[in-house]
Symmetry: C2
Subunit: 417 residues, 2 copies
């Protein structure tokens, strides 16, 4: 059976002038995928009548499901609701439950309900209201000629809430589709082309219903196998056979077979072994600590980070010697070695990582070029240092330093250095 095809339309001028980055679409695509619904296109258009109508007409022909986000706010640049109402031939009418909820929100926040807020309680009489517990703009579910159109607010937590509580369960009931399953091989240390070369014979014999994709990201390459079928058990077993074959071939560059980010892989490793970890960050400014604490429950193993951006903090908090800094500089093997020792002691942890580098655009010298990052990992017995070099802009260098730092610590903790 063919998969259900979906299109996501995002509405809002802010997406077209680049003031907002669209994170909603990726989240929606993941959720639909889990239910065996393929997103075949994503389209972003501005807050104008013509643009929205053109998108509706064109995408209508390409999918059985259209999900629209945005354009449902209380201000005059938000025109999606009356437009959809008209498109499907309905009339706007006040929904009492939405109205009560709206008044309730404003009274809890001690704010007066304005006329334009009350308008948010008006919904087309030809749609099913998808109740929005998290905000004032309700979602809408239209059906026409067997196709479904869902309209959701653009605010991420409101969109997610309505999807999870209202739209997804309803979609599951409505569509019975092919299964789609993914299996991942998360690697570090080799480029996309080399990996592709190494496994080309395995890739060549994959059956038509299994696809392999390469997803490079900051020094890591994620290989994703996607299988389609009807029988969960046989499809899973088939995918895992290919996953294992690829992982065996790639050997030590394989970090994980789960689709987890490195901060989670690191966290699981610490938790499983009952170890505590801490950081001494200079150029990353707290970014590694941020990543590590993105994992819910990180407090079980993460003690903290000394963000010693200024050399005085390296000296006073981490006890880096002033002579080390003056002789070798802040970005040096000697400095990160003392930083990691300081972190182990000050944070009283089993394992620590220290990072100091020049991310750019300024601050490079002949001796220490922009993109140079020194790192040290240590436990009570041993310290290992390594020099990294990144070739990108400030932001990407920071990202690379953070991710490679976590990988470096993970490898050390797992005897892989």
């Amino acid at each position: 059976m063919a998969n259900i095809q979906a299109v996501i339309i995002t509405i809002g001028d802010e997406l077209l002038i680049g003031q907002t980055i669209d994170t909603n679409s990726a989240w929606i695509a993941q959720r639909l995928n889990e239910q065996g619904i393929d997103v075949v296109r994503r389209v972003a258009v501005g807050d104008t009548r013509d643009a929205i109508l053109t998108a509706m007409d064109e995408e209508w022909l390409k999918a059985s499901l259209i999900i629209l986000t945005g354009g449902l706010g209380p201000t005059s640049d938000d025109i999606t609701k009356p437009l959809l109402c008209e498109y499907f031939g309905g009339t706007l009418k006040v929904d009492e439950r939405v109205l009560e909820h709206l008044k309730d929100i404003f009274s809890k926040r001690n704010r007066p309900v304005l006329e334009r807020n009350l308008k948010q309680a008006e919904v087309p009489d030809n749609c099913k209201v998808l109740f929005n517990l998290m905000g004032t703009a309700p979602g809408m579910w239209f059906v026409k000629n067997g196709k479904i159109v869902i309209s959701l607010p653009g605010v991420p937590n409101e969109m997610k809430h309505i999807m999870q509580e209202e739209a997804l369960p309803r979609l599951k009931e409505t569509f019975k589709s092919d299964l789609i399953i993914h299996r991942n091989i998360f690697t570090a240390g080799e480029g996309e082309s080399n990996i592709a070369e190494k496994i080309q014979d395995i890739e060549a014999i994959l059956p038509a219903h299994i696809k392999l994709a390469f997803l490079p990201d900051g020094g890591f390459v994620r290989l994703r196998l996607t299988g389609r079928g009807v029988d969960l058990k046989s499809l899973t077993s088939e995918l895992e056979t290919h996953q294992k074959a690829i992982a065996d071939r790639l050997g030590k560059i394989v970090v994980s077979l789960e689709d987890h980010p490195i901060e989670q892989i690191l966290g699981e490793s610490a938790r499983k072994n009952g170890l505590t970890i801490g950081l001494a960050e200079s150029c990353t400014g707290g970014y590694i600590g941020h990543y590590v604490t993105q994992v819910a429950g990180a407090s079980a193993y993460f003690m903290g980070s000394i963000v010693s951006y200024d050399n005085k903090v390296k000296e006073q908090v981490l006890a880096v010697k002033p002579e080390t800094l003056s002789t070798y500089g802040a970005v040096s093997e000697e400095t990160v070695r003392e930083m990691v020792t300081g972190a182990l002691r000050v944070l009283n942890v089993d394992y620590a990582l220290a990072v100091s580098g020049v991310l750019g655009p300024d601050g490079g010298t002949d001796r220490v070029k922009v993109g140079t990052v020194w790192m040290a990992v240590a436990n009570k017995q041993e310290t290992i240092t390594k020099e990294f070099r990144f070739y990108y802009d400030r932001e990407r260098n920071k990202e690379m330093a953070a991710k490679n730092g976590m990988l470096f610590l993970w490898k050390f903790m797992n005897g892989k250095l």
Copy 2:
């Protein structure tokens, strides 16, 4: 004169299954906007022949400029180059300059050049090559019937490099378009609807060539005026008159008239006044330090952050009293007061911010509900504390805490509390 209309097409299955968030499009849209080119649509499609050809055919009718990103890598899921070559009726031929550059990259990285890498030096003979100094996949510039199609790699730093060095200067020469200018009013402390209500008479009299948009983001609302015209001086003056009228009406909720993020506004304030700042972070895990150091040159005023995720670190590094933690808990006015005092002393700074909260999903109690974040700001003379409450998921609560923390410190430094 009408503006040039552009469409961005992004190619890659990873965008449709939600494994990658598209940040390229926002960046491209901003750059085109600065040159008076309107992005009217953005379309994302998968790595299949049909999907790419359909998108090309449809978007061709809607714009004078099409920018494609992605699908140029060395692996077999990257099919854009041969497809465009065929679309425009050309033949693939080796480009000697690209070939030399490619061999050079591999020799510098001590990696063998594989057959599939050599293929990257082949370009359609009917396009202008946009040289890619940062990577192996060259960009391409096609012209047909007065319309322009630009194909770029999806790797962000390579795409940015080619746009800046090759594509944008060429576009400037090719198109002479209307001016587009933006002016911003960056506010904090009131919702979109209240702001809209307060300025509705000003909005009502805006001329047709000036548009006002509301861009809410994490407790902030950015108002953006967009003007189109031909004369820079008169358009600027007209926009700034409306900007001033709105800012005057909104009064104290206005934080800035620049389109700068809060970390930059905070940094400018510290730099201008010759002040140093430091942080004591608990729940934000280093995220505020990350933001503060996103600003190039932050080392002039940012000393560091003590990320005291565990209570032991609060005690041992920041000298928070064990009794304070046991009596009032880590998320309390008393604790953040001692944390900020500790940060002032340990980091030896003029101004400090301390943050401790429960971001969820777990860790809430009857007394301290999920979403509660206590903050303290201090200088040597004074400490001010404030309780914040956020109502979202872990990620968004962290984002809100970080941004509101920087705003709280900025207000304190500028006598606005």
